[in-house]
Every structure is written in C-alpha cells, then in structure tokens.
C-alpha cells in the first residue's frame, strides 16, 4: 500500500508536517479530510450497497480512493454451519487496477490482511443485528458484506469502514413469516402463525410449562411493496479513524499515498456510538514500525474519539439524505406514471 518514495521526499513531507503552521502537500490542515462522496443503492441486485470515494477530483471524477460495498443476504440452515441468530461475514477484494504495482500473490496477501481487520471488527457479537433470524433454531440469514477496492489513494481503512457502514445502513432484510403445519383433528392441512404466539395450548401441556417452542418447519417471503425491514442496530456500526503518527507528538488524518509512505506508524481506532453521549472502542490496530508511550496513547485515543464522532455524525446525515433522495426519486417516478 505504501508507495516507495525517496528519503528526500519523505523528509520533505515530514518537515512540512512538523513545522508551525503545518504544511501538507495539498494545503489541508492536519485534521482535514479530503472530499468524501457517497452514493447508496448502486447495486440493485444486492440487498444493500454503497459506493464511496475519498479525494476524488470533482471536475473529472479522477483519482481518489474508491470503494464499492454490497451486502447480500442468504438463507442458511443451522445444521449447515449457520448460527442461530444469523451470521455476518465480511470480505475485502482488491481490484488489480487499484494496485498495479503488486503481483497477484502480494495482492492476495493484502486482501487477506484487510479482510481480517474488517471481518473481526464487524462480525463481533456486540454489533450483531437482531433481525437476522428466520426460524429460531433452524434457519437464519447469512449477511455477506463484500467490499471491492476500485482504486487506492491513501486512507484505505477509513474508506473501508465508511463504505461498510453505508452499505449496512442501506441493507433491507426481506420480511419472512414462518409456517407451521398442524394436522387438525378434522383434517385440514396448514395453519399460518405470526411470530411466536401460540394461542391454542394443547391439552397435554401443563400450566407450569412456560417454554415457547415453535413447531415451525418452513417460512415464506412476504410480498411487500418495499424490499424489507432495515437491518437492526444500524446506527451502531463503527467508523474507523486512522491516526498517522509523526514523532514526537503530532498526528494527522486522511493521508495520501505519499504521506502514508512518509509517516510509517499508524493507529487505527474503530469507534461505535451506541447512544448520543456514549462511545465504544470496537477495535484498535497499530500498523508499522515504531513505538508510542502509554500517555501518548491515551491522548491519541481521546482525540481519535472526537474525530470519529464528527465523522460518524456526518456519515449519518449523508446516508439519511441518500435515503430521502432515493425514496424521493421512487416517489416521483411513481407519481409520474
């Protein structure tokens, strides 16, 4: 990922960043992000999708880090390896066009590294959405999140997590209802029940038996005008902030490729914001050679949290805007008929 730059260029960037006031090659401040553009609903065949780019030139759409994220839901039976509440699996694929200097083996290694980071963070039980069950104990949804890196101009981790979050926000889980077959004494065949209410208690169970057993054997997809419910807990998905460290004390955000090559030590801090005031550190990684004292680490994490909070609220308002835009378009086209 780090492009190879000469010592002179590296020193030039480092001196620029350490000076007062700090200079960056494109004139940004240390904590400024490049322009982020996000569009949801780009893959109609997927259950949720998003295309995010950081630092794309607005005039000719060139350059920048571009990620395409899509989620797909598939039905899994518990015996075939599913989990009872559903599973979340994340994969990152790097397009060879994004890393033209890497051989295919190096590309696979990079893909593997990125996949591990994203998958371990997003598939953690604390972030697991509630509505991935279909028939408790038998069938559940497998949520596969695929991220494709179309081009990389630095700051790939932040982009991956933002795109993942947007795609997960956009995901709609199809509504299902399970079907229970009961052989009635008079001979009719099936009965459909909603949810878990068993309104007829068979005469053989005792009043002390408070288990809620379902005899559901199959499920059906309900035919609704929309594509389903939104994924539960979608405000909970985390955002990542990459702090590029400049010894001794400074750090900067959103590095371009040359800046990443110059500032070798990076700290990834992945924050989730379950409620307005509270925050949770979902994951942390330190990349690159170098060391940080524990007091420095504490301050860095606090600062990362502030940045993450801003990023998270900006992302939230953008995805909400996107929802409105797409529903607006749909409503307009429907009214024009």
């Amino acid at each position: 990922m780090a492009s190879s730059i000469s010592k002179a260029e590296s020193a030039y960037i480092q001196v620029g960043l350490a000076s007062t006031p700090p200079h960056r090659l494109d004139g940004r401040a240390l904590n400024d992000f490049r322009t982020i553009s996000l569009e949801t609903g780009v893959a109609p065949l997927a259950n949720g999708s998003a295309r995010l780019s950081i630092g794309r030139n607005p005039h000719d759409n060139s350059g920048g880090t571009e990620i395409l994220a899509a989620t797909k839901l598939e039905v899994e039976t518990i015996e075939d390896g599913g989990a009872d509440g559903g599973r979340v699996v994340c994969t990152v694929t790097c397009s060879p066009a994004a890393y033209p200097h890497l051989s295919s083996n190096a590309l696979e290694d990079l893909q593997h590294d990125l996949t591990i980071v994203v998958h371990q963070t997003l598939s953690h039980p604390s972030l697991h959405p509630d509505n991935l069950k279909i028939i408790p104990g038998k069938k559940s949804w497998l949520l596969s999140l695929d991220l494709v890196i179309l081009s990389d101009a630095g700051n790939i981790y932040d982009a991956l997590f933002m795109a993942a979050r947007a795609a997960l926000w956009d995901t709609k889980v199809p509504k299902t209802r399970f079907i229970e077959y009961k052989a009635k004494k008079t001979g009719s065949t099936s009965k459909e029940k909603d949810g878990m209410d068993v309104d007829e208690t068979p005469a053989t169970t005792s009043g002390f038996d408070t288990r809620q057993l379902t005899n559901a054997t199959d499920f059906e997809l309900l035919d609704y005008w929309d594509e389903g419910d939104v994924l539960d807990g979608r405000e909970l998905w985390p955002v990542c902030i990459t702090l590029n460290l400049l010894p001794p004390a400074a750090h900067f955000l959103d590095a371009t490729q040359v800046e990443e090559a110059a500032a070798l030590l990076k700290i990834l801090a992945i924050f989730a914001f379950p409620a307005v005031q509270s925050s949770r550190l979902q994951g942390m990684h330190m990349l690159g050679p170098g060391e940080v004292t524990s007091t420095q680490m504490k301050t860095l994490i606090k600062e990362a949290e502030i940045h993450a909070r801003e990023l998270s609220s900006a992302l939230n308002s953008k995805v909400k805007d996107e929802d409105v835009r797409r529903n607006q378009k749909a409503a307009d086209s429907f009214s024009r008929r």
Partner: protein, 258 residues
C-alpha cells in the same frame, strides 16, 4: 408459480419490453479512475463492467516479455454481488481464466503491439453487475478503455450477443434469455467488417447461425457509432480543458473517421 415469462410474445415484445433487435440502454463513462492510463465504465442495461488499462509500461516479469512486441495481460475480477445469488469467485477460477483468455485473444490482433517491444499492456476488467451478455460488455468496455489510454489499434472492436428463440433471432440478451435460448457472442471490427471473435457454448442450427452473424455485424456498426460519439465527446472535453481560450467551433477540419 406465477405465469411463465415469454421470451418473445406474439406482439413481438421480449420479456423486458424490448423489440426483437433492440439493444439495451448503453451508458459509457470515460472519466479517469485511479492511476489507470485509460479506463471505461460501460453498461448494457443492468450489466455493468469497469475496465482499467495500464500501459504500455515496463513488464513486471522480464520472462514474460517478447523482444518484438508488447505482452497483453488481461485480468478479470467478478464481484461476488454481481449476480442474483452471491457466488465468491476465486482468482484462479477456470471460468474466469477462460474469460480473460478470450478477451486477450480478441485484442491481440487488433492492438498494434509491434510498436512497443518488451513492454506490457495490462487490462483489468472488473465485472460489477451481470444481467446477461457479460462478454459483450467486457469487450466493448475494453475497446473504449484502450482508446482512452491512447493505445493504437487497427479498429474498434464491437461485440454483441445474439440468440435464437425458435426461429426468431434476438440481440443483446439478458440473463433470463441467456438461460433459455441458444446464443452466440460475436465481436466485429466495424470498418473492415471482419469478425474477431465468435464464441458459443450452446447448440445452434447452422442456418440460424448465418442469420445471427449478419445481424451481429449490423449491430456492431450501431455500437460503433455510439462508442465513437462517446470518445469524440470525451476528446472534445479534454481539448476544451487544455485550451480554454480556443473558440468552441465544430471540428470540420478534424479527420473523418469513417
């Protein structure tokens, strides 16, 4: 089950409302992406592919170079979410490798490789969405990306998929149609009317084949017009950016490319 979907009904309409020989909506985006020397994102209806071209540049592995011409390397990545059901395609998948080899053999005679000895031209194809006629979309997008990268070629390569439903031939098939009827993908060079690629995996009657080949040639000419327009528009944009003071005049003095 619901009603059976008719491939071609009595009124002459197909399952998506098109006529027999009607091509799907074509959209071309030639804006630069990432570090590529040339790139093109093309969609035929819902089939969307993105092709990036790097080159001619120094080869990564010296052993793969030719002393008298450029080496063409094609890599295809199919997104797992591109089809209706998610299928993770590994890089070494035989089907994908065959796909890449087909694209390579299509472009090898067309690109003027003898101009760049000992170098490499990399073509990276990313299939974003598949709704039938993937090879057609990939070849058309590759042509545009190569032109965008400024790599000299003898001619455009325009591809189209054709199929036959009982006795009626059809062009530009969707997934539904591809699964149902025999189909063939034909790539032509519109100026010389030569055929560069014919590939078929189903069984087709010989007479229908002749019909389809002729139709594909005509369809190739239509696609050629569209692609040419897109390229000229992009070039005009680039020229306007480079010389802002120049008057916006119609390019009568430009070479007519017919």
């Amino acid at each position: 089950m619901g009603s059976r979907i008719e491939i071609l009904n009595e009124a002459g309409f197909r399952s998506d409302g098109r006529r027999q020989f009607e091509l799907r909506d074509l959209s071309i985006d030639l804006s630069k992406r990432g570090e590529a020397d040339g790139s093109a994102q093309l969609s035929h209806g819902l089939t969307q592919v993105l092709v990036s071209v790097h080159g001619p540049r120094e080869a990564k592995m010296r052993s793969h170079t030719f002393h008298d011409r450029a080496n063409i390397n094609v890599e295809v990545v199919v997104a797992s979410f591109s089809t209706g059901e998610r299928r993770k395609r590994l890089r070494g998948d035989k089907r994908v490798l065959e796909f890449a080899a087909t694209i390579k053999s299509t472009f090898e005679p067309v690109i003027r490789t003898s101009l760049y000895p000992r170098s490499q031209i990399d073509i990276y194809v990313q299939v974003l969405q598949q709704d039938g006629s993937t090879l057609q979309a990939c070849i058309n997008a590759t042509t545009l990306a190569l032109i965008n990268a400024g790599i000299p070629m003898s001619d455009f390569v325009c591809a189209v998929t054709g199929g036959v439903h009982s006795t009626s031939p059809m062009l530009d098939l969707t997934t539904l149609e591809e699964n149902d009827i025999p189909h063939v993908t034909v790539a032509v060079m519109p100026k010389s009317k030569k055929v560069v690629l014919v590939t078929m995996e189903t069984r087709l009657h010989v007479e229908r084949f002749q019909e389809l080949l002729n139709l594909a040639r005509d369809a190739g000419a239509i696609l050629h017009q569209e692609m040419r327009e897109a390229i000229l528009e992009r070039s005009a944009g680039l020229i306007a950016m480079a010389e802002p003071g120049m008057k916006q005049s119609k390019g009568d003095e430009d070479v007519v490319m017919d």
